[in-house]
């Protein structure tokens, strides 16, 4: 199961460099000018808040370091209120894929304005049961039910606890 004590599935993952904090521009400090929601902003949400690695609280890697979420795989259209996020499981048979996807999805649901239509799915060709996982993630009822399941919610919330 996906509990905290599960054995390491991928003990020696590829580690990527972090891109660093987004610098604040002069425009963003101007009270009047609106800033539209862009790819980087959405990318930063799971990046900043999904910290504790899914199966190993002792090895807190960010999703970017694990290359699970990359900025190029985040697509936002502010005007049309759509967000699409592709994530890449650490290995093709990663049993955590659904949980990772769920965590990303829950975090975004909590963080995005209601007007947005949200699509979270696996980067094509990177997981053995890609189709099944995507289907689960797209199923509103199933996501809602997952959030009612206190064991699952516990694990998801653990993933959502801020960097300490």
């Amino acid at each position: 199961g996906p509990g905290g004590g599960a054995p390491l599935e991928n003990a020696n993952p590829l580690i990527y460099r972090r891109s660093g904090e987004r610098p604040v521009t002069a425009r963003e400090e101007d009270d009047e000018l609106p800033d539209s929601i862009d790819d980087r902003e959405i990318f930063d949400i799971p990046e900043t808040h999904l910290i504790r690695s899914i199966n190993d609280p002792e090895h807190p890697l960010t999703l970017e370091e694990l290359n699970v979420v990359e900025q190029v795989r985040v697509k936002v259209n502010d005007a049309e209120s759509t967000v699409a996020v592709e994530f890449t499981p650490t290995i093709p048979h990663c049993s955590m894929a659904t949980l990772i996807g769920l965590s990303i999805k829950v975090k975004l649901i909590r963080s995005l304005p209601e007007r947005f239509k949200l699509d979270v799915h696996i980067t094509p060709g990177t997981h053995a049961s890609e189709h099944a996982v995507n289907k689960q993630l797209a199923d509103k009822e199933r996501v809602a039910a997952a959030l009612e399941n206190s064991h699952l919610l516990e694990v998801v919330n653990q993933c959502l606890s801020a960097r300490s």
């Binding site: 609106p34 902003e41 002792e58 090895h59 909590r110 304005p113 209601e114 653990q158 959502l160 606890s161």
Partner: protein
């Protein structure tokens, strides 16, 4: 009685006689307790004979009933502090304790007494104790074996350290001594909440580490333990092991390490390759560095093999091949390991670079992609930076020197790569290569400078351009000739070039870059002498041009001049050259402009604009503040007469159409009066020991100007100049007179008339000048200011004035210009005036209440955070009221006061949770972005209150925070996401 000498101890013992021999142990105990307490009071007055008898008595009591023992130990502790203790007695006492007392079955306090006795004897009877040989060590081991109390452990660890440090005989008991201490490793201790003893986990860790790492004799036992604990699941245990290993390397030699090197290396490698924790990684690298350093400095006997070589070989063998895979995960950990080992000594450096540098250079050519090249060059840079540590390149052994050609060509190729990221690494590498003495040949240098010029002026990306300027700045003092001969002329040429599209944007930014680069390279006297004239010439050119936008150009030149001034400050020669050249020139140009205005209203006016004058102030100030007193005196003898008497003769161009008399009355002199700003910049930055000629007259003129002038800029400047001088004026009658004069002019001005604002400005600046130096008159002036808070007209400005009083001022009255600033002035102002502000608030009418809140928030906002947190709870109700105030300055500062309080005093804040939630949520829709951000941060900080208090509000807060998720500003959305996320987690499983 014993204390004042009227009784002897023997008399006391006799008097207690029946009690001391009573058959009831309780009674005996009380007798001995009394005697011991007396001894603790007056051990220093005892005679040698008395001590002898007492020692014998107490020793015999050690076999007594267990109820008596604590008092006996107290008595022995008192005796252990006696200076007259006869030789042999210390040993006898300790022997008796070791023999008769089972220390670990005593209570904590009594065990502590035993440690104290031992500590006392070790302090005064070292030789005697050493006479006991290893028996003493063995006795102590038995005493501390099984100790559990952290307070006692700290003392016991200290005793062990002393045993080792002072060379007590450990005999066959080395391993026992190690066992009895190392059993606490790694320390696992969490101080209980509200612990009155204040012992932190860190204290124990450090104390134990000092024991374990105190002798090479422990090495054979300790190293296996450390290797084992490095593999622990607990990060704290890992870190402790690594830090202890590093500490050991400071005293170990090759002999101690030899046997364990392979396992140590494989543990360190495993950790660095696997860990995701930067802390663990950093500690591993530090340990590897320490190991390599230890092996490098070990003195070897002629028949032993140098282990450094084989150790480095195994590191190279395990890491080298990873460097060939710049895309892969292990490339960086490997590079860091190699650099940590190489950085330990020159020998290690040569060994590693000899193998790695050629490989990296080869890899750079093999991988054509910019991103891979960047990784490779960054690694190369890491090794180059290490070389910097040893300064110059030694010709005979340096790998680097032999690779001069390929290294340069790799770095130069990076500089012309289209990828900015690669360029940036190349520029950093250039800085390092340039700082290696003797590495770059003269022709390399010319090429370097040409690259820097190109990147500075023509590289589109501003990051690269800025980095190139920075590098030019750090290399120019090393090679001043190349920069003054090659770069400065090119920059001058660019500045002077008249372009077709004179006002086009590109050209503008090119000029900007030239100005910045000129400032950046002005790091050496010889360069400054080239660049300053270029900058001044450009200033004159822009001023004459009088085109639109020239204000900004003038400001840019001043900014560059300012940077040069700052860079000249440390060098007396440059400093005087700069002052002598720049200050008269700026004054002359300004005087010229001020005169011209009276006849030709448009020409050359830009120089007198507030913005430009404001930019000239820091230039003059920085050029003045670091002058030697003699030179400053010389300069002040010109500048003051210029302003008071129109003495223009020292200015470079001094034929003017009319006379310069800024302090005279007259409509047409308005422009001249503005130049008081430059006078202020100069005269308020002088060192305190430089006398200002005609100071009293000058002060009177400034005072008059500040009260009578209609132009706010001039009036304010005059007030600041007055305040700056008054702050440094020596105390005494003269100062009192001038201050009285100021008060006399201010008071009627404040009361009524057309110039109340000017009078308030003067009041504020003079108050600030006096508050800073704790002058007695400051409280009178502050009270005046407090009184004005209820004034319908001046109230808001007076409230804002509190910010002026508390904040660091930019141009006068700060440390940099030698002002008299007492460090605690803000706390003192807080203590003296906050009660008055609170009282005033309660008594004030509804229309002026906000002024008091605003004043208060300014004071609170500038208070250091720790002081704030301790003082705030008393002001809490007022702050909660301030949240409803409609003034956004009050809102903002109140929110920023409350935020740390939520984090640090959650219990008190819990009482007000309802008000806080309501107010914070309503402020998240403020029209001001900063208020929305602060309100969201507070809403976030609320989550540190106890969960049970918050749960009733959870749904409401989550709903309300949905709105700022769609705020038009990204920075607001970011805070909303963070706050809302935390609220979701409240009370949920898995938080």
């Amino acid at each position: 009685g014993v204390k004042d000498g009227s009784w002897t101890v023997l008399q006391l013992v006799e008097a207690l006689g029946s009690c001391l021999e009573n058959t009831d142990p309780r009674m005996r105990g009380r007798g001995i307790q009394l005697l011991s307490q007396v001894l603790l009071q007056c051990y220093s007055q005892l005679q040698e004979k008395e001590v002898l008898h007492l020692v014998l008595f107490y020793e015999s009591r050690l076999q007594d009933h267990h109820l008596v023992i604590p008092s006996v130990l107290q008595g022995l502790r008192a005796l252990s502090m006696c200076e007259v203790l006869a030789p042999g007695l210390a040993v006898s006492v300790l022997k008796a304790i070791f023999q008769e007392v089972h220390v670990q079955s005593l209570l904590q306090l009594d065990r502590h007494t035993v440690y104290s006795i031992i500590t006392n004897f070790m302090g005064t009877r070292e030789e005697e104790l050493k006479g006991l040989g290893a028996d003493f060590t063995f006795g102590f081991i038995q005493v501390m074996d099984g100790e559990k109390d952290p307070r006692n452990l700290l003392v016991a660890f200290q005793i062990v350290r002393d045993l080792i440090a002072k060379n007590y005989a450990l005999g066959p008991f080395v391993e026992e001594l190690f066992e009895v201490t190392s059993c606490y490793f790694p320390i696992d201790f969490t101080p209980p909440p509200n612990d009155p003893h204040g012992i932190q986990r860190e204290d124990l860790i450090l104390s134990l580490r000092a024991v374990l790492a105190s002798t090479p004799q422990f090495a054979e036992f300790l190293l296996p333990l450390l290797i084992e604990k490095m593999d622990s699941d607990l990060q704290s245990a890992k870190l402790d092991s690594l830090q202890t290993l590093t500490a050991c390397c400071a005293i170990y030699g090759q002999k101690e390490l030899q046997e364990f090197l392979p396992s140590l290396w494989s543990s360190l490698r495993r950790e660095v390759f696997q860990t995701a924790s930067e802390k663990v990684e950093a500690e591993c690298l530090a340990a590897l560095h320490a190991l390599s350093a230890c092996l490098s400095r070990s003195v070897l006997s002629s028949d032993t093999e140098d282990l450094l070589d084989s150790f480095l070989s195994s590191i190279l063998q395990d890491c080298r091949h990873h460097l060939c895979e710049p895309d892969m995960k292990l490339v960086w950990p490997s590079a860091k390991l190699l650099q940590a080992a190489a950085g330990a000594s020159l020998r290690a450096y040569h060994r590693v670079t000899h193998s790695v540098l050629p490989l990296l250079l080869e890899q750079y050519t093999k991988h054509p992609q910019s991103s891979q090249r960047r990784t490779i060059l960054e690694m190369l840079l890491g090794f180059l930076e290490l070389q910097q540590k040893w300064g110059h390149v030694e010709e005979d052994e340096s790998t680097l020197l032999s690779l001069h050609g390929p290294v340069c060509s790799v770095v130069f190729s990076a500089l012309t790569d289209p990828s900015v990221q690669l360029q940036l690494v190349g520029i950093r590498a250039l800085t390092v290569l340039g700082s290696l003495q003797g590495f770059l040949s003269p022709s390399d240098l010319e090429l370097v400078v040409d690259h820097l010029i190109r990147l500075t002026l023509h590289e589109e990306d501003s990051q690269s351009s800025e980095a190139a300027m920075e590098t030019a700045g750090s290399l120019s003092p090393i090679y001043p000739k190349v920069f003054s001969g090659r770069m400065v002329p090119r920059l001058e040429e660019e500045l002077q070039a008249e372009r077709e599209e004179e006002s086009s944007r590109d050209h503008c930014s090119l000029r900007q870059r030239c100005l910045q680069a000129l400032a950046a390279v002005s790091t050496h006297t010889s360069i400054v002498r080239e660049t300053v004239p270029v900058l001044l010439q450009h200033l004159r050119k822009v001023q004459k041009g009088s085109e639109a936008g020239s204000t900004q150009d003038l400001v840019s030149v001043c900014q560059s001049l300012h940077r040069v001034a700052l860079q000249c400050q440390q060098d007396a020669e440059s400093c005087w050259y700069y002052h002598q050249t720049v200050v008269p020139c700026l004054l002359a140009m300004a005087v010229q402009a001020a005169m011209q205005e009276s006849t030709q209203p448009l020409l050359g006016k830009a120089l007198l604009e507030e913005e430009v004058l404001a930019a000239m102030i820091p230039v003059i100030s920085a050029a003045t503040a670091h002058l030697s007193p003699e030179l400053a005196a010389q300069s002040v003898s010109h500048v003051v007469p210029l302003f008071l008497d129109g003495e223009v003769s020292f200015l470079p161009q001094n034929s003017f159409p009319c006379s310069f008399q800024p302090f005279e009355d007259g409509e047409c002199l308005e422009a001249q009066r503005r130049l008081v700003a430059l006078l202020m910049a100069f005269v308020c930055s002088l060192p305190r020991n430089v006398a200002v000629p005609q100071q009293e007259r000058l002060l009177r003129e400034l005072l008059a100007l500040s009260c009578s002038c209609n132009c706010p800029f001039t009036a304010t400047t005059a007030a600041k100049c007055f305040a700056g001088l008054v702050n440094k004026h020596p105390a005494g009658q003269q100062l009192d007179e001038i201050l009285q004069l100021a008060v006399n002019r201010m008071e009627p001005g404040l009361a009524e008339g057309p110039r109340r604002t000017q009078a308030l400005t003067l009041l504020l600046w003079v108050t600030k000048a006096l508050v800073l130096r704790y002058h007695p008159l400051s409280s009178h002036l502050t009270d005046k200011l407090l009184g004005l808070l209820s004034d319908a007209e001046l109230g808001p400005a007076a409230a804002d004035g509190f910010s002026l009083l508390m904040a660091e001022s930019q141009d006068v009255l700060h440390k940099g210009c030698h002002a008299d600033v007492r460090i605690m002035f803000r706390q003192r102002f807080f203590t003296d005036n906050v009660p008055k502000l609170v009282q005033g608030f309660h008594g004030a009418g509804p229309d002026v209440k906000a002024n008091y809140l605003k004043g208060l928030s300014h004071v609170l906002n500038h208070l250091p955070k720790p002081v704030l947190v301790t003082e705030l709870p008393t002001l809490l109700s007022l702050l909660l009221e301030a949240l409803s105030c409609s003034d956004r300055v009050v809102q903002l500062s109140t929110l920023s006061c409350l935020q740390p309080l939520l984090l640090e005093a959650p219990q008190i804040m819990s009482l007000h949770v309802d008000t806080l939630v309501t107010k914070f949520l309503s402020l998240t829709s403020s029209p001001t972005m900063a208020v929305r951000i602060a309100a969201l941060r507070c809403a976030h900080a609320l989550t540190s209150l106890p969960t049970t208090v918050l749960l009733p509000y959870k749904a409401r807060v989550i709903r309300a925070l949905a709105k700022p998720l769609d705020d038009k500003k990204r920075l607001v959305r970011k805070e909303a996401v963070a706050a809302r996320g935390e609220w979701f987690l409240l009370g949920s499983p898995g938080r």
